[in-house]
Symmetry: C2
Subunit: 428 residues, 2 copies
């Protein structure tokens, strides 16, 4: 990992603007990227990417039409496993969580993980037929993140065509559980339980939009389903007993009054409420789903503590306000989502190199803080970045999601991603 060590020393001295990296004179990172792009293997790989366009589109459509609802990625996972095998990777396998992966050997001991997630947000039964209008393909999940999966296959084939050699092994992964209640389970398993957990030193997720956007911070989130329970009873006959809907109302009211910073961006939400059986019965149980997020680990921790304290206080208030002779109100905040917060410093080599690659293609790099699989490594102190899958896309998470496969942009996306991977994996 010598080249990277050198770069680290150099880039520590760079100062980049938080959201728009400042244009600077050519620096060592830029020179390193330039060397890669001018190397014969990379050039041959980049040329191959041009010829691989039709296959990329074909695979994008084929993968999109294999449904991959949350927790039900298996069919797409098996198909992707076979495609990884055909791309010539070694050690192709599916792990116990459902991630599929294969290794492209390097010459060193380290390993870079490159991920694109298999899952979509769409439930079983969603029509995933791809509709084409010119260069615009529409289908649920086609942009987020099936395009990332298709791009990754094209990158592997191009690297092989150019016989590109890297210092570190590159582990290419189609992972499960990025969306919603999947709760990053694929990335968590990979880095905390999988067979490569101790070898992965850098982490690249292909899960952004256009390639100018470089995600270097992970918005952390905690999600709770809080159930308030009580003895229940007849609304008239048992009036005076504690009411869990009152306790929940008190909690929501106090929660709504929390003050949070806008920078680092910190947010809270009550998204779903339910409970009770009849207008004339005191409910035995009501519940609410709550979402807490922050760009900052410290702020997330602060709002999390405040929220749990509010719930306890609301329960105590209701138990003091009415009779508990038939039973008390109890609240059970169950953690239903836990996306770790974290960030990779702007000065970290993985960010510097990605920035240099983006600039070398004449694109405008800008940093983003988001919630992607990279949250997991960032939280663990592993250098991570989420890069774009390329192309203009829209309506992510909506049934009319679409992505534009304009040839030039699509080919460039493959070339950008490949350059980032090669730069981060280093050269022997």
């Amino acid at each position: 990992m010598k080249p990277l060590k050198t770069l680290l020393l150099v880039t520590c001295c760079l100062t980049l603007a938080a959201s728009h990296p400042r244009a600077t004179p050519a620096q060592p990172v830029d020179q390193a990227v330039q060397r890669i792009r001018e190397s014969a293997p990379y050039k041959q790989a980049a040329a191959f990417a041009e010829s691989d366009y039709d296959r990329f589109v074909k695979e994008l459509i084929a993968l999109t039409e294999i449904p991959a609802p949350p927790f039900k990625e298996q069919a797409r996972g098996k198909a992707y496993l076979e495609m990884l095998r055909q791309s010539g990777l070694s050690d192709v396998e599916m792990d116990a969580e459902g991630n599929v992966m294969g290794v492209r050997k390097g010459s060193g001991a380290g390993m870079v993980a490159v991920l694109a997630h298999l899952d979509t947000v769409f439930p079983e039964g969603t029509d995933v037929t791809v509709k084409r209008q010119g260069t615009r393909l529409a289908a649920p999940g086609i942009g987020d993140n099936t395009r990332g999966l298709a791009l990754m296959l094209s990158v592997i084939r191009a690297m092989n065509a150019g016989k590109v050699v890297t210092a570190n092994d590159v582990l290419f992964v189609g992972n499960v559980g990025e969306e919603g209640e999947g709760d990053l389970r694929g990335a968590k398993f990979l880095l905390k339980k999988g067979k490569y957990k101790d070898r992965i030193k850098q982490f690249i997720a292909i899960d952004g939009g256009e390639q100018g956007g470089i995600t270097r911070g992970g918005v952390g989130s905690k999600r709770y389903r809080v159930t308030f329970k009580g003895p229940g009873g007849h609304s008239y006959g048992a009036f005076g007993l504690v009411n869990p809907a009152f306790a929940m109302g008190k909690a929501i009211d106090k929660f709504s009054r929390l003050q949070v910073p806008s920078n680092p961006r910190t947010t809270f939400n009550v998204g779903v409420v339910s409970g009770g059986t009849s207008v004339n019965a005191i409910p035995a149980s009501v519940q609410m789903d709550v979402d807490l997020r922050s760009e900052s680990c410290a702020e997330l921790s602060k709002i999390n503590d405040a929220f749990l304290s509010i719930v306890r206080q609301a329960v105590d208030d209701e138990n003091s306000a009415r009779s508990t002779r038939e039973g008390k109100i109890e609240a059970d905040p169950k953690l239903i989502g836990d996306r770790p917060c974290g960030e990779t410093l702007e000065t970290a080599p993985i960010i510097q190199l990605t920035t240099a690659v983006v600039k070398s293609f004449g694109l405008s790099p800008h940093y983003e803080i988001s919630s992607t699989d990279s949250n997991v490594p960032m939280n663990m102190g592993i250098q991570a970045v989420t890069i774009g899958r390329g192309g203009v896309s829209g309506r992510a998470h909506a049934p009319d999601e679409w992505t534009d496969i304009d040839r030039k942009t699509a080919v460039q996306a493959t070339q950008v991603a490949m350059a980032v991977i090669v730069a981060v994996a280093g050269q022997p």
Copy 2:
């Protein structure tokens, strides 16, 4: 209506305890009741009731086994219509609301309505097969209020057998919509739109338990489904927009702090909450079902106004607390239940006579305030009482509802009800 007028003057001077009418020396009402009970027609009718017991039981079982869910009383209504016809009433018919009824002519111009409701609380598909263990019959709805329906048929036959003559016409009604969301629609139609609406001067509902209980007050209730709507949005991306769950939480919190008197008993409840689609979306809509009740019309009006004001205030608070750039929170409190409050004074002839009848059978009369079809006439200023259907019953509104048909008690119940009806209808 001379006898009643006389009684009114006399009974104005009586003072009865609110819940337990005080034992007093024999009064004109007692003497009037005694005259009825000692008359040859009444005695013959009472004797007939003894011989009618088996038929009463048979009809109770037959009627119980015809399902009569809320808003779906028609099958039972048609069967009961036929039974009313066979009992010898005139003008037997079903009105536009689904009430079935027939008239037993008197000699005067006035009319007493006697009601037993057809509907049960049980939904379609409930097993209504009657199970018998000794004198205990179990089936959903058998006590509340099928027993009232069966008793009414036995009363009509007994009056006919004894050739009992009354001053006022007696309108016997099997009515719809007493339970739950039925919202007293049968009684409302009868008194406000039906063909006899201007003739009914007294109102007797057979819908209580044992005959000691005399319901002379109607607990009024108002029920709302309040929908809070807003623009919705992503929990993170659109954070800062108004949230309808926050508005509802504020409303519930304030509502839970309302102070209400325990006498006259006044209650409030949030029974059901629902809304929102995802933990990570600001809901576009949430709702709650609210129940307000009071023994007192003034208190019901007061809490109703307070509640509606709280909802408005909570909406305003939320619209002030967060951004309305994508739209404001709006709340729509929809009245889904409206049971009028009301009472019949203890001194009213209908209450005095019922009390005297109950005492004449050696039973202990006590006054109750409840929610029955009598709420409607009480609210309109029409003298009304709800009397017992007799017998020991239990588990009303539960699938294992039961009623005991012990012969002596059952026959006495018919005799008590008949005496009340004859006393209230007066004699020519």
